[in-house]
Amino acid sequence: MSAAAKETSSSIANRAELLPALKQELSKNSSLSRTVLASLADKTGIPLNEIYGVSTFYSYLPVVAAGKNIIRVCGCLPCDLKDAQGVIGSIKKELGIEPGQTTADGKFTLEMVGCIGACDQAPAMMINDTLYGNLTPTGIAEILKSFK
């Protein structure tokens, strides 16, 4: 194998491992710190700015500190038709935060997201990897209680 070919194949291997590696880091911490990104840059040889660029592109690779539990509420059409706004209002009231914010105790981050594929159970949200469907504004407190 020529040097150039070798280099290509090793860069292919590194790049293909980038997203899985970032996810692996997220299983240890709730967000990707600069230290984590820098050590990945060292390990893979991919420049730090590029790893940062990749991370910030995807909504599941948070680079700013996130809460222990991430609440992702769907605001797309089918959920919106079924009063997603009421559900979001109820969460905001319960936690005292706006979408994009984290509670002071670091337990919850609230995010508005695109379709999560639960339109038949609208309105729906995900807390971490668990799906909650057929939500009502009054039922939110009960669900959040189990995470407090």
Partner: protein
């Protein structure tokens, strides 16, 4: 016509965690037939004859796509199953993957034989993390049975980006890059993942393959309309009594799907194809669902007579604006300006020229955007202007009157509502 469960045939029948239950139902017979009794070119010919088209929304002829990759001389080729189901109102792939991963694996293995791909990926969206293990286990069981000798399958998880359902953005994502669309040509069948020939098919497309190989192209092409063959899996949500997944022969009417099966009443309009889908008014409810009319990816959202069409289109564009990858100007800036105009209309700040601005913008985006996101973002805007133009006009007239009556300053708000 009633439901015709072909792609959904094994859902709820087999155990998605146990390959034996799939084998007992005749599973992998099509793969063994394709491997032992057919030549790769023969498989491609059969799929071409069947008339199967892509089920992800674009509707490209599947056999033709395979032939393009088959005919390239490259040694390394890739196959990707697009399971990045991000379209608004769509949940069929999640249902299919979690109930019947084996038919998908069999379809992928046949596609692998046909095009000569050594490595295949299932690109699963991050939102469906809960089925990652189920899929990986199904692949492992197929491997233990010795089915993965020609083509290996890896489940690859995305990281949350709607645009990665677009094939070139998806490949960038697997390559560990930002999921931005690429300039085309070259198209993936000639140069795709790591510049190698790559075939990308939707989950549902691939799940049709074993049925076609088992029953023959003639059986498949007997179903459907002139240009779109077979069945389609639809996801119905919104103002219906029975939201859910329904499989119908292509060419069945929209009315049959949303009224007879899903139990919709008091319909005003139906959006077919998700956030970039056509908006069909009630008077056209008998429209047949096919590639010739409207089909898209199968997401069907029903809107009743209480709904405000401009509000619906605003929601569509808000989503597309958020998910635009930002690489090309028509889509990045176009969705931004559309959102601004629609937001202004809804706030009561509409102006006389707004409709023309929306139309101009929609046409420019459809012509000049890099990928389907920006090209199709214009569809709900243009459809709503075509069928519900009065609602726009009335809203603008009312706003103009109210502002002149109250004094325009009292209606100017500092904040842009998005």
């Amino acid at each position: 016509m009633a439901e015709k469960r072909i792609v959904l045939g094994n859902c709820g029948v087999i155990d998605p965690q146990n390959i034996e239950t799939y084998l007992a139902k005749g599973g992998f017979k099509a793969f063994i037939k394709a491997r032992d009794k057919m030549k790769p070119q023969g498989i491609v010919e059969e799929i071409k004859k069947s008339g199967l088209t892509g089920r992800g929304g674009a509707g490209f002829p599947c056999g033709l796509k395979w032939e393009l990759a088959r005919n390239t001389k490259a040694k390394t080729k890739y196959l990707i199953c697009n399971a990045d189901e991000g379209e608004v109102g769509q949940f069929k792939d999640k249902y299919l993957l979690s109930n019947d991963p084996f038919t998908l694996i069999e379809g992928m293995l046949i596609a692998g034989l046909a095009i000569g791909a050594q490595q295949a990926y299932i690109y699963l969206r991050a939102e469906y993390h809960s089925i990652f293990n189920l899929l990986a286990e199904a692949v492992k069981q197929a491997k233990e049975k010795g089915f993965l000798k020609h083509t290996d399958i890896l489940v690859f998880e995305g990281a949350g980006a709607y645009v990665c359902g677009e094939e070139s953005a998806l490949m960038n994502s697997i390559e560990g890059r930002r999921g931005e669309s690429r300039y085309k040509p070259p198209y993936p069948p000639t140069s795709g993942l790591w510049d190698r020939p790559t075939i990308i098919n939707n989950v549902e497309t691939l799940m049709n393959i074993p049925h076609i190989i088992n029953n023959g192209a003639a059986w498949f092409s007997a179903m459907g309309t002139r240009r779109s063959k077979g069945t389609k899996v639809f996801c119905v949500s919104g103002d219906v009594a029975r939201p859910g997944i329904y499989e119908l022969e292509i060419g069945s009417s929209l009315k049959e799907l949303v009224v007879d099966l899903a139990g919709a009443a008091g319909i005003k309009a139906v959006q077919v194809g998700g956030s970039t889908g056509s908006i069909i008014p009630l008077r056209m409810i008998d429209t047949p669902l096919s590639q010739e009319t409207c089909l898209g990816s199968g997401a069907v959202v029903v809107l009743n007579s209480d709904r405000d069409i401009i509000d619906i289109v605003h929601n569509d564009i808000r989503f597309l604006h958020e998910e635009s990858c930002g690489k090309c100007t028509p889509c990045r800036e176009g969705t931004e300006v559309m959102l601004e105009i629609l937001g202004r209309l809804m706030r009561g700040d509409g102006e006389a020229g707004d409709i023309n601005k929306l139309e101009d913008l929609a046409r420019a985006m459809a012509l000049a955007s890099l990928c389907g996101l920006g090209q199709a973002a214009a569809v709900p805007v243009l459809d709503s202007l075509k069928y519900f133009r009065d609602e726009y006009n009335d809203l603008i007239d009312q706003s103009l009157f109210l502002r002149s009556y109250l004094g325009s300053e009292s209606y100017k708000s500092e904040e842009v509502v998005i």
